[in-house]
């Protein structure tokens, strides 16, 4: 089922927000990566077609932003800030803990397809460093392995409870 068949009304309302169709490229890519799990080649071409854009332009956008995924990711994308303030407050420890608990190195996805771990730059929440972003939701002050364990358990539980997840953060409560 194509995006326009499945999300026709939502896409129409997004297009109505902009004077030019191509301005809707980001929201449409968010829909596409939620629908297909990540931005497949075909998904980006589909968006280009919907917006009458040259496909190259859509690939450019997808390649530029760290919240658009052109490789397969898990249901939760965990992004840890390793920039200076977070690094001072234990970001490297947080990453090490996550790697250990998930059993994967950075930029990998757990075999059950639940978590992808990534390093990112500043998440603009330095006062709560170190910060973890899970599908655009913030988890603050993750200074001990216990706190990390609790967060992972919560995320896993939410996924298993059948909650609708969005790697694009379309349902992020913020």
């Amino acid at each position: 089922m194509s995006l326009i068949e499945k999300y026709g009304a939502e896409i129409e309302s997004i297009l109505a927000r902009y004077p030019q169709k191509r301005s809707a490229v980001l929201p449409l890519l968010f829909i596409a990566q939620d629908e297909y799990g990540y931005l497949t080649d075909a998904a980006m071409r589909e968006v280009a077609d919907l917006l009458d854009m040259p496909p190259t332009d859509v690939f450019e956008v997808a390649g530029f932003y760290s919240l658009l995924y052109t490789q397969p990711v898990g249901r939760w994308v965990l992004q840890v800030c390793d920039d200076v303030p977070c690094a001072f407050c234990g970001a490297e420890d947080l990453i090490a803990t996550l790697q250990e608990k998930l059993g994967i190195p950075v930029d990998q996805t757990t075999p059950d397809g639940m978590f992808t771990l990534q390093r990112v730059k500043c998440l603009a929440d330095c006062d709560h460093a170190p910060v973890l972003q899970a599908n655009l939701e913030y988890y603050h002050d993750l200074t001990t392995p216990e706190k990390v364990e609790a967060v992972l358990a919560e995320l896993r539980q939410r996924a298993e409870s059948g909650e609708k997840l969005s790697i694009s953060g379309r349902y992020a409560d913020r």
């Binding site: 071409r45 040259p54 496909p55 190259t56 332009d57």
Partner: protein, 923 residues
Amino acid sequence: MPNVTLVIDGQTVTVPAGTNIVDAARIAGIAIPVFCYHPKLKPVGMCRMCLVEVWTPKIDPATRQAVIGEDGRPVMTLMMGKLQPGCVTSVSDGMEVRTTTDRVRFAQKGQLEFLLTSHPLDCPVCDKGGECPLQNLTMQFGPSTSRFDYADKIHFEKPIRLGDLIYLDRERCILCSRCVRFQDDIAGDPVLGFDNRGRTWEIISKSDPPFDSKFSGNTTDICPVGALTTADFRFKARVWELRPTPSICPHCPVGCNISLDMRYDRLMRVMPRENDYVNEIWICDKGRFGMRFIESPERLRQPLIRKGDTLTPATWDEAIALIAEKLIAIRTHAGAAALGGLASPDLPNEDLYLFQKLFRQVLRSPNLDFCTGAPGEPAIIDLGATLGVGKGTNLSNLGAGTSVLVVGADPEEEAPLYVLRLRGIAARGGDLTIINPYPTKLDRTPARVIRPRAGAEAFVALALLKTLIEEELIAADFVTRRVQGFDELKMRLRNHSVASLCDAAGAPEDVVRSAAYAFAKADNGIIIYGRVALASGADLIDALADLALLTGHVGRPNNGVIPLIPGANARGALDMGVHPGAGKKRGLTAREMWAAAREGRLRGMIIAGMDPVRDNPAAAEALDALEFLVVQDIFLTETAQHADVVLPTASIAGREGTLTNAERRVQRFRQARIPEFNTPAGWDVAQRIARALIALGVKPTAPDGQGDGRGASRTLAKTAATTASSDQWDYAVAGDVADEIAATVHGYADTTYESLGLTRKPQWGRQPNEAIFYDGTSYENTEGVGVQIAAEADNPKATFTLRARVPPLFATNDAYPYTLLAAPRAYDGRAWSRDSKLLPRMVTPHLILNADDATALGIAPGGLVQIASEVGCAVLPAQIDRNLPRGLALMPDVDGAPLSRVQTGPLTRIAIMAHISETVGTR
């Protein structure tokens, strides 16, 4: 624009306001190094190589006056307190620019150190080595060592294909975006972009097929490093081994100036040569990559003579003797009118001139044509000789104040460089109207698009005329002086309104009116018409002529008509008189020749450089009915296989000559190598035949038609008379023929090789120090920009008669409800494409249908369709186009397209049905 005076490195310079600092410095002869800046592209300030100190007078905020120091001179401040990029900083009065201070040198050194952090330094194996700005600027401005760790260089797989033709080496790329900007702004094919960020930033192309542009090769010219290279030239040669030979592209009526870069006698690469009047510094991929046929192993090497069913090798003496003997025999028993000649509109002027001279003066036959006589071939209706763009026209200077009508043409396929020229005019503020029955890539240019029904284009032109009359937009003074029949035209149009004419065309009235207004009010007006306009016929083209006349847009530079007639030298063929109407006695057209041959009235033919059997397999039957057929070509074409004698000729690389382009610019190409297999030029073949005929006692007549000395200046005629007279065929070199053309052909008096070699210097801003101001590897034009010959309208005394009339509507036919048009394609898969890297891009035969029509007919994309007209039917794959108007079907005119099987004329009524292979066989 007002001028601005500033000081650069102590030198006072006055330049137009708005000039950037890099250009201002160039005008003063000072070189500021650049990578991303290119004079044909908008500046972006990406590479930071052009950082300079910019000092401006200090302004007192209270008084808004310049602060004067104790020495009585203005106090200067450094702009923004730091260095400024010269390419994006405009000049201002009183500014002082310093380009050689320690601070600037430090920045340049640092910038190069950065650019080289991950550069692979593989110059010894890099195709750009020897003509690379990164090499040159590093030598001049760069540090000799780097503080970056060599082991820390980032590595990529190298190279990767951006498309069939262009390779990308991401390690060499300095991310200047010249290629991206060229594709977006100049070519209008936005197929390149940037992926990722930071150190993994890279160029990508995601079009289908990748790098889908007919201008892709130009990106390798303007790439300031070795990041983009062509599949055609990769690892072929070192650039300093090459011998660039000035040439002219033989593929279309644009006549782009090119260079054949030879190593000894082998063609290594084709490069653009700048000529502002023709191609600026660009060429299309057909010109760049479509020249490998020259070295094809399938080239004809020696004359062939038919012995029974086979063509067997013979000597030139045998072949020429046989030709002379047979032609004389036919002339004796059937008369001169039983002889006919067809010469290709791709042949140079020298060949065409002697070809017609052979026929008119030696054989005394007026049967000459440059058409193939295929059933769908439109009549060639030429406005170039009469109302062509005025002498001195230069499209690259035009912008605001210019209005261009592109009527029934697809420039991208017929004359690709015109896309760039027209986009340039639009980008500089010009007004563009596109009138075509189907969408073309040119529609993407900011333009007014009028989409008439196929065959009803004339009604748009008439609606434009009627608007001019109604809204009194006529150039009254010009019309009074030089135009006749205005009242009669008004009478012919009196019963028609703009609305009714627009209705007949299926075009929106308001858009037509605004087009008429823009065209009439413009300072310069140009009309370009092409293949579809020719298919539409005289009704349209006469109306276009009247449009140019009523608005006074003729007889001046940058005003007039540009006909895109198929062939690289159709203009030359018309001017040299290779058409049946050129002489006093009218000859047979190609189509009439086929009929005459079948009926036995035409007995002998010479066909030069043309393959009519390819376009029209039915012609083979006519050829076989001839007593004697001579074919002169560089390949054993389908037509040649029917010949009694086949004569091989040299390609454009093995001889010299001239071609006349669509704007009537005569341009000379030089000989790039010794003739392949010792083959002679076409003009020499005609000479050998003529000499043999004369030796056997044939008496040539006085000139008739072209070559009769009209319009040539007396002195020139005299000089030429000493070198060549009508019965003396002693041309030693192409220049001898060119002298005779200059002396005798109407309008060509200025076109001796001497005047063709003149160059206006500088054509457009090249840096005095070429190595630094890097605008690409296109060659400077040192061998002449050619000579544009005058159109009749350039003569202020010439008057013209208005001829437009309202034609009947194109008849519909319920049995054949669709209209079939042949669509020109640049990549047509014909002889030129042999051994070319473009082969995967060649268009294969198919039919293009509207999406709704296809649905109604139950045709799926790629499925087979059967089409039928009154004369025949054909089966071919379908392509669905949702933007094509309903009721129209396009068949690309490419190698193997079954056009001649179904066409009844340029426009054909057809029926279309899904093809079911079991029940309906291919006929």
